[in-house]
């Protein structure tokens, strides 16, 4: 699945980041394969989403999150 479908409270491990104009920035910000991300909440109307990654918070549109392949984790 991709991070796009993530809902509040879910935790994921990043598997891969697909090609996209944002790819380099996403990875630079610490979203590299193996990193844990937690979905914190969504903005009104469900998009963008707020994530916790590497002890900081990041907001990302769901369309942009679609390029991040993830796996659910406990």
């Amino acid at each position: 699945m991709t991070l796009r479908e993530g809902t509040s409270g879910q935790r994921f491990i990043i598997r891969s980041v697909a090609e996209s104009p944002l790819k380099n920035r996403l990875m630079t910000m610490g979203l590299v394969p193996g990193t844990t991300v937690t979905v914190l909440r969504s903005a009104p109307l469900g998009d963008p989403m707020a994530l916790r990654v590497r002890s900081y918070h990041l907001a990302l549109r769901r369309d942009d999150a679609a390029s991040i392949e993830v796996e659910a984790t406990a």
């Binding site: 980041v17 090609e19 104009p21 944002l22 790819k23 380099n24 920035r25 996403l26 990875m27 630079t28 910000m29 610490g30 590299v32 394969p33 990193t35 914190l40 909440r41 903005a43 009104p44 109307l45 469900g46 998009d47 963008p48 707020a50 590497r54 002890s55 900081y56 918070h57 990041l58 907001a59 990302l60 549109r61 942009d64």
Partner: protein
């Protein structure tokens, strides 16, 4: 000894600017980096007999040279070779912060690591073993809490010591660099190579962090608790509106406006009187008196009265930005903003447009895609700024005495609708480049550093002051000249002046709009110089002399004007057409000057002036003719 050149680098939201401001205070010079609209801040100080210059480099997450900021940082560090580079890190968020560090170490740049935000790290139970970290990287490490004097002293002592000289990258860093070199020497495609290198850097960071950082018991996170209310579910948007309302009240009711009124009273009263008296006593020629009092003091003074509003507005916004709330505002409004072709990051600059387009246009700097920035700049002037409000209030009171408030409100809505349509159209035609994205750090909530807020306010507001002294000054002299002269020299009768001639020319454009009088034409012209002038021009031209341009006095002013020729010069429908036109046409020269400065292009300034005039002309025409067809 020669002076010491220090550069501060680091991620955004690490307290880097606070450290810079605490180090240098008001002894700063703010300019631009060559060719870009990124602020270049240099401060000066001396410590233990040494003169020190400090450069506050733009906050960046990396130095991939993909944005102007990133390019500035790496170019400066590699080309200018400052004596000391301080890498400011947020101790509670080391992993991502160390990315920039390792990138700089790969470039062979020696760093002083400043573990800032110690207070926050402690609250989160995060402990960094500074000795181990220093050894792991081979660089000296200091701990600071930006706002504490002792932290600043510690930093200064390090600056003037020679401790940097004995440091060199650790074995671990050199091994990392060797691995990166190995990857580069391989035959990976550019994209794949970059990806591998980024992963390699984070692998390095993870190993350093696991050695040096321990987290003792996750304390409750205040930021999450606040966000559960301010950035969550049904409470987020109403609370944003409350916050917005508070900012506007502070600016336009409680603090800013009273200050503006006091300044206005002073300029219009004691200042004008004493200058007039002085000029009289010096027996200065009448025309010169008129130029100084009516032209310069009237014109520049009129703009100066906006200065308190601008400063108070900027103060509020800098303060909110310092708390971290602005990032949440972008987050919660993005779903609405993206539907109209903008981005959540653009909401705050746009909202300022209801006060004054000038700071609103300047505020668009913070948007990261060129498309979002340009769209925001070009649509902002459609909104009803504080200077357009009196026009709406006056005409509504004159021609719709029973429905004035609704009519004014309708004009606000018209402005918003036109801004949305224009954003959509510009997005679909002029700025078709790749779609906008939204990637934004939500920094922890913090109590803003007052020194930083005040310096930021001054830095932004200063530009407006400079403008009042230059472009507005020149324009005031020009309009005074046009209103008081004709080909025979100076004239007492304004309706024989150049301004009247220009007004007559301008009015030809409005034959089908129902307001083709030279007075309306002249008001349209002066409105381009300043929207405040529309009402005062009407007053002068319809011979009722000085009238109040304050929206609150609109009813009274309307009653006065009803007695004049103005009541018969307009029909109800042509009054509506005039309001529509005033709401939408060419921004004032101050706003145009700001557009020129922010876009760096005369072309875009000209485009803005022309397309808004055209849209206003068409919409106003449709409203007038449509209204007539429906029998109004």
């Amino acid at each position: 000894m020669s002076s010491l050149a220090v550069a501060l680098t680091g991620n955004p939201n690490t307290g880097k600017s606070t450290i810079f401001n605490e180090l240098t205070g008001a002894r700063q010079k703010i300019g631009n980096w060559p060719g870009v609209t990124v602020d270049k801040k240099i401060g000066y100080l001396s410590h233990q007999g040494r003169n020190i210059s400090v450069v506050d480099l733009p906050g960046t997450y990396s130095v991939n040279a993909r944005s102007p900021e990133e390019k500035i940082v790496i170019d400066y560090l590699l080309n200018e070779k400052p004596d000391l580079v301080v890498d400011v890190l947020d101790s509670s968020n080391l992993e991502r912060n160390l990315y920039l560090t390792i990138q700089l170490l790969e470039q062979g740049i020696p760093l002083l690591l400043d573990l800032n935000m110690q207070d926050e790290a402690k609250r989160h139970g995060i402990r960094v073993d500074t000795e181990k970290l220093g050894a792991a990287l081979g660089m000296p490490v200091v701990e600071t809490t930006a706002r504490s004097r002792s932290s600043i002293k510690t930093l200064l002592d390090v600056f003037t010591s020679t401790m940097m000289e004995k440091y060199q990258p650790s074995e671990k860093v050199r091994a990392h660099i060797a691995r990166v070199e190995g990857l580069r020497a391989g035959n990976l495609a550019a994209d794949a190579l970059e990806e591998k290198i980024i992963e390699e850097r984070y692998a390095f960071i993870d190993s350093v962090v696991s050695e040096c950082v321990s987290v003792a018991g996750a304390s409750s996170d205040l930021t999450e608790k606040i966000d559960a209310v301010l950035a969550n579910g049904w409470t987020a948007l109403p609370l944003f509106l409350v916050m917005l309302y508070a900012v506007f009240q502070i600016t336009f009711e409680w603090i800013g406006q009273p200050m503006a009124d006091a300044l206005d009273d002073f300029i219009g009263g004691p200042l004008t009187e004493s200058v007039t008296a002085t000029l009289e006593s010096w027996e200065v020629a009448d025309w010169m008196q008129s130029l100084i009092v009516d032209g310069v003091i009237g014109g520049v003074g009129g703009v100066l009265t906006f200065v308190p509003l601008i400063f108070v507005l900027f103060f509020c916004l800098s303060f909110l930005d310092g708390t971290g709330y602005m990032a949440r505002v972008a987050f919660i409004t993005d779903p609405i903003m993206r539907r109209v072709g903008l981005t959540g990051k653009g909401i705050m600059p746009l909202m300022m447009g209801f006060g004054c387009a000038v700071p609103a246009i300047m505020g668009a700097r913070t948007l990261d895609s060129e498309k979002d920035r340009m769209t925001s700049i070009l649509v902002t002037p459609f909104l009803t700024c504080g200077a357009k409000l009196p026009i709406m209030a006056l005409f509504a009171a004159m021609f719709f005495p029973d429905n004035a408030a609704n009519v004014v409100f309708a004009m606000y809505i018209l402005g918003v609708i036109m801004a949305i349509i224009a954003a959509k159209l510009l997005g679909g035609t002029v700025f078709q480049e790749k779609g906008s994205t939204f990637l934004l750090e939500l920094p922890p909530y913090r109590i803003p550093d007052m020194k930083t807020v005040l310096l930021e306010t001054w830095d932004k507001g200063k530009g407006y002051l400079i403008k009042a002294g230059t472009i507005i000054f020149a324009m005031s002299v020009l309009i005074w000249f046009l209103g008081n002269f004709n080909f025979n020299g100076m004239t007492e009768e304004m309706n024989e002046s150049f301004l009247a001639a220009l007004g007559t020319g301008m009015s030809k454009l409005f034959i089908f709009h129902g307001f083709d009088t030279w007075e309306a034409g002249a008001a349209v012209i002066t409105g381009i110089l300043a929207k405040e002038s529309v009402v005062s021009t009407m007053g002068i031209l319809y011979g009722v002399g000085e009238i109040s341009a304050e929206a609150e006095d609109a009813v009274e002013t309307a009653a006065t004007l009803m007695q004049s020729g103005m009541a018969t010069a307009f029909t109800t429908m042509s009054a509506v057409a005039f309001m529509v036109f005033s709401q939408l046409y060419t921004p004032c020269v101050t706003a145009l000057g700001t557009i020129k400065k922010e876009t760096g292009s005369w072309k875009w300034m000209g485009f803005s002036a022309a397309y808004m005039f055209a849209i206003a002309w068409v919409v106003s025409l449709l409203v007038y003719q449509g209204g007539r067809l429906m029998g109004f």
